[in-house]
Symmetry: C3
Subunit: 147 residues, 3 copies
């Protein structure tokens, strides 16, 4: 049993990325060195946008990320006749739907000052716009402070 | 660095809504005035149902919500030949699947007594039943209490 | 208002399951008897894999789980021509996509030492591999300790 005595929050930005699924574990971790101060707890990552999402997936073979992009384009196609929100471009409404399917936050357990991810797990930024620009994240770290 | 010293939980109900995607940010916030007491932390929202979900999306143009409904109906159609759980109506099994795709909880960071949402983000109730009735939510607020 | 003074974490394994959606509420709860020590708080469940997910859904009629499997196989088919990550078998890439759509963690509120789930809600392990084997979960319990 531990004691919950630590919370720390900061906003960061990710560098702009092309449309697709991107492994960003290192880009996130470099901006939150405070993580090692938590012995047991969580890193919560929240994306402040509605057309890009966050998920976890395979951190090794880059074709996994390409297949994610191919399949999401198939499952949520552009230019469907029933779309009415079309003024912001063909990629916009599918981007909202894809992001909602993947989710806008991750909460990853911390154990002994490190993310307790599985061997093959990495953090993905799911960029669904053609020109999404830099994305803002709120990182919140909380749990028991390491002694 | 802050100290985690506050947790508060309550159950609320949302007014019954027709099938579709609904912006409920204000309806939720009106029932949790305690939010301003948290300087750094979270609002966690959990829906106690299996045929309605929660997500975050665009809070401005209502056609975004209409397009969500149209596309989810396309992606998870009613009356598929492989459905076996059909006794509760054509809308029931698709409602379970849609809700699982969107999720049953949200955890939104709080900064200085306010939800730290992006400019265009709002909270959506995703009502997938034709007559879902009033939906129950568990709200849990936690973090560092404002001084 | 309560005080956040308790956090407890453990890793568990679920017994290997065939491909499909499985109700695992009891299998999880049996491994975390500490839950009753929390008066107000959360159980956070994180799966350390990229081809199996976690969700919440109907805990009664088993055909709901069968229909989930049927529909996800329809929505994310095997052997699509655009898949490039194919070396690990036909079920592998769809498994990554399905798991990302459902999610890798659940955070369920605790009230008076019990999960505050709706009447019909249960915890699902979504096993998307044909032979996924035993799956590892990180359980983190936190909140106010019961007096």
């Amino acid at each position: 049993m531990g004691n919950l005595n630590y919370i720390f929050q900061k906003e960061i930005r990710l560098a702009a990325k092309p449309r697709g699924f991107h492994l960003v574990t290192d880009e996130v971790l470099q901006q939150i060195p405070e993580l090692k101060k938590v012995s047991v707890g969580f890193l919560h990552i929240f994306i402040k946008h509605t057309s890009a999402g966050l998920t976890i997936n395979e951190n090794a073979d880059p074709t996994v990320r390409e297949d994610f992009e191919s399949h999401f384009n198939e499952m949520v196609p552009e230019d469907q006749p029933y779309y009415r929100h079309t003024l912001e471009g063909s990629d916009d409404m599918p981007a909202h739907i894809k992001a909602a399917m993947l989710g806008f936050s991750l909460q990853i357990p911390i154990t002994n000052g490190r993310l307790n991810l599985g061997t093959w797990q990495g953090i993905y930024l799911c960029e669904h716009r053609d020109h999404g620009g830099s994305r803002k994240l709120v990182l919140t770290l909380y749990g028991e402070a390491a002694q």
